[in-house]
């Protein structure tokens, strides 16, 4: 009982850390133990709240074309970081990195986005800025 209380107290302490949090917990949606990196061509851009989604066609191991959805932050936030809705147009060749969805669907969170034509990293850790 004491142990359980201690665990609860510790959890409370740690998460007192989080009076606010992102729109939803990405951890509830994606699995950090399932990293994924895919190159493909943009097929659709959903510049919508609460999160922007970018879809790409990519080849799977058997050479079959599969459509993947990548979840980003909110457009509100992306715009303030210098993105625009026209940054990635349909047909652009890109590489996304992130973590796969827990529900097994062909979706992932976008940790970084790289333009294949120039190798420029648009967003994510050590990005070179949003201007392509």
């Amino acid at each position: 009982m004491r142990l359980r209380f201690a665990a609860a107290a510790l959890a409370a302490f740690i998460y007192a850390a989080a009076p606010g949090y992102a729109h939803h917990s990405f951890a509830a949606e994606f699995d950090g133990d399932k990293p994924i990196k895919l190159a493909g061509t943009v097929t659709k851009v959903e510049w919508t709240q609460p999160h922007a989604w970018i879809y790409i066609d990519a080849m799977d191991e058997s050479g079959r074309r599969v459509n993947w959805g990548w979840e980003l932050g909110s457009p509100t936030s992306l715009v303030r970081l210098g993105w625009t809705r026209n940054l990635l147009k349909v047909g652009t060749s890109v590489t996304f990195e992130g973590s796969r969805a827990r529900d097994g669907s062909n979706t992932a969170n976008a940790r970084s986005v790289t333009l294949n034509a120039t190798g420029q990293k648009l967003l994510g850790a050590s990005s070179q800025g949003p201007t392509p």
């Binding site: 209380f5 665990a7 609860a8 959890a11 409370a12 302490f13 740690i14 998460y15 007192a16 850390a17 989080a18 009076p19 606010g20 949090y21 992102a22 729109h23 939803h24 917990s25 990405f26 951890a27 509830a28 949606e29 994606f30 950090g32 959903e46 919508t48 709240q49 609460p50 999160h51 922007a52 989604w53 979840e71 980003l72 932050g73 909110s74 509100t76 936030s77 992306l78 303030r80 970081l81 210098g82 993105w83 992130g98 973590s99 969805a101 827990r102 529900d103 669907s105 979706t107 969170n109 976008a110 940790r111 970084s112 986005v113 648009l122 967003l123 994510g124 850790a125 050590s126």
Partner: protein, 336 residues
Amino acid sequence: MRQSATVAALLIVGVALFAQGAGGTLTGIVTGPTGTPVADAPIQAKNRQSGAVARAATSADGQYRLAPIPAGAYDISITMPCCAYEPFVQQNVAIAAGQRRQLDVRLAEGGSFNTAGDDPGELAAALRKRQKVPSRPAPRLGGKPDFSGVWLANEDRYPEQPALLPWAAKALQERLGNNLKDAPHTQCLPQGIPTPASIGPFMAKMVQTPALLVVLFEDTGGFRQVFMDGRPHPQDPDPSWIGHSIGKWDGDMLVVDTIGYNDQSWIGVYPHSEMLHVTERIRRPDFGHLDIRVTFDDPGAFSTPWHQTLNWELLPAEDVVAYVCENNKAQHLVGR
């Protein structure tokens, strides 16, 4: 003259030596999971015996220095704006008199999984870069400070832990156990209390008149009204997500009193009951800052009232924009 200067110099050296002998130094570098320095990380050392705290923020290259701090055992903690990094806690760090102790911290990745555009800390840094905030006193309106402006709704950098009643502690455990998948915000419902609840990418715009303070915020819920015309709270308000707020001046501080909350909203991750009573004490110490001390009093959820200290920053170059939660894909939220 020369003699008195020498005496003064000796005195200064003496004081410095004394200070060095009486206290120690804690220093180090804070990095992220990949070793990149983390700037503006709020580090706190809390003395386990006296409860006294020493605080510092890391520099652009991730360095921090807490000195001099009295010899003793300390709990060291860092809480970054949610949720790019996990909070860091290291207990019982001993610091001896005169000791210079190095404690480097590598923060673990947080629940936002480094998703592009979803780190409030990164966003705040980008916003600060393009603001030009004049150094002058707060503007005034009808003899009182005017809070009007667009504000970056920062979180409490040194959050307090509420003492939860057993049911609330159990609810919290459940929430943490499923990665917060049932947070109201995941269903595009208002996020928290007090609204706007210091929310990552969102801002709050205050519009003040002598008898009414309006808070426009980008997140779901949209607005708050603080009535300053002397009206009381309604006798039996219908419980709502934002409650009923009245404000009274205490000198240059506005005291906002809110009741009438439903029990559906979360205070960050914490639950509450309809008995929740929130008091916000708002000051504008200068043109560019808003200091808000929030008290959460709820005998239905907390054994004692607790607080948040919010320090908002003026964003003269920004404005609030529309935010309609139109494309939620909550079906992917499975928890763990």
